[in-house]
Amino acid sequence: MAIITVQNLRKQYGDKIAVRDVSFSVEEGEIYGIVGRNGAGKTTTVECVAGLRKPDGGTIRVEADLKQQVGVQLQESAMPDKLRVGEALDLYASFYANPASVTELLDEVGLDPKAGFAKLSGGQRQRLSIALALVGNPRIAILDELTTGLDPQARRETWDLISRIRERGVTVLLVSHFMEEVERLCDRVAVIAGGTVLAVDTPAGLIARTGGVQRVTFRTTVPVESLNSLPEVHSVTVEAGHVTVTGDQNVLRAIVMALPDSAISYLKTETSTMDDAFLALTGE
């Protein structure tokens, strides 16, 4: 059963349309991604779902108490500099009727309760922010751009934390413009551009829509025009001594069979990713 249903959502600021027509539904227990470029309408969409903004059109149904059962982690929200981590969690826990254990949450996000907010690193601030979104024992957590500006290590730690949230049975609505994050975490993804939904699918489904393209790059001493006639090959480009061939999943074997062994050096293969899928969908 859908826990969040958004139908034909529209929101504008003055005469600037932020969200034109967005519909999607989130099933209980899944991690649902909203992806798109900056300015695509992602944040406005989830802020409407969270009840922070009033839609100009369409309907939003959330099968949970918006205040008590929806935890929200906002983009760019800070705490007072001299507030300590433990105090922040105790404070937010006091707001809810049925809060989670602060001790367990601190343990889960790995933060020192005595640390002052001003001294936390970017990653620690995000983990605190996630902990604050979870302290009310929510059924739904809305997380907006939670790894933007983090270093790779901190990003990975945050991802691990999100995976553990799912194990608690919390439904997660995750806003991101970071495709690797979405591919790794989300069960389903809505791709948003220009205030409308371009596609909804699993990350694997979205990648498959681009045809499951393989890209092979290598250097060679022999002519490569003959590769164009192979059925497995889609395209061949030569640039600065590097040959790039795209094709289906058998393209690598076809190339190796067609060219003499010794003629190939520096070989690299890439499978298309969410990035490719996103770029293909948004027409770049």
Binding site: L52, L74, M79, P80, K82, S94, Y96
Partner: protein
């Protein structure tokens, strides 16, 4: 959204700690008014001489503590309260809280109560020290004195709330606060007592919120009662400022 006891308890405890962790707050709202009272009381000539116009009381018994209490109240109202609230809004703290079950009434109420408590604490400490050091008598009409004090605090804080509602950034609210603070101190009679002001200026001053507060507070210390027009003016300013603050206040 209901106001619950755990919310009020935690918010009060956290906000109190945050105030106490800012040495500047404790200095300007508590230390400075008390220190000025003690230093000026001991150094300004004539402050310790009985004045027939005050029914034989000394300026140190009436005008000086009255003005130093106002200094503390206006510091809370025009500097501390609006700066905290606008900084909270600027940093997304209020918006974040608005996604939780805590009511805005609780968040604002705790701030107001804390500022009232801080000024009350300053007042009591000041009166006790003044009594011990300069033999200043305690207010002869404690109930009337407390009533005037609370009314003055609430109307001043309401104006502070209005500043917080109108100022878009914490820098602007600090500037705006100072622009209101210094004229208010003047109108209250901190630099020139109302008695020494030219008639026109005195009339204008007593129509301002801090002027009415200053006049009523000195009156109640000197005579044990205040004039109704001053009381009505404070209440009127308080109501107008509250209504406007509620109308214009934004959470994000």
């Amino acid at each position: 959204m209901a106001v619950t006891a755990p919310q009020v308890r935690r918010l009060t405890s956290v906000e109190t700690k945050l105030y106490l962790r800012e040495p500047a707050v404790v200095f300007f709202a508590v230390g400075l008014p008390i220190a000025l009272m003690l230093i000026l009381g001991g150094t300004i000539p004539g402050f310790r001489d009985p004045d027939p116009a005050l029914g034989g009381l000394r300026p140190i018994d009436t005008h000086l503590p009255g003005m130093m209490i106002i200094l503390s109240v206006l510091t809370c109202a025009f500097s501390l309260l609006p700066t905290v609230l606008v900084t909270y809004r600027e940093r997304g703290i209020l918006k974040r809280m608005s996604t939780t079950p805590v009511s805005p009434v609780t968040v604002l109420g705790v701030q107001l109560v804390l500022n009232v408590a801080m000024s009350l604490f300053t007042t009591v400490l000041m009166l006790v020290l003044a009594n011990l050091v300069y033999d200043v008598p305690f207010p002869q009409a404690p109930l009337a004195f407390t009533g005037i004090l609370l009314l003055g605090m609430v109307s001043s804080l309401a104006i502070g709330l209005l500043l917080a509602a109108l100022a878009p950034t914490s820098r602007i609210v600090q500037g705006l606060g100072m622009a209101v603070f210094f004229p208010s101190l003047f109108f209250a009679g901190v630099w020139v007592p109302h008695d020494l002001m030219p008639d026109v200026l005195r009339t204008i001053a007593e129509f301002t919120p801090s002027g009415a507060f200053g006049a009523a507070l000195v009156d109640v210390l000197a005579t044990g009662s205040a004039q109704w027009p001053h009381v009505a003016l404070m209440a009127g300013w308080g109501v107008v400022a509250t209504v406007a603050a509620v109308r214009f206040f934004r959470w994000s």
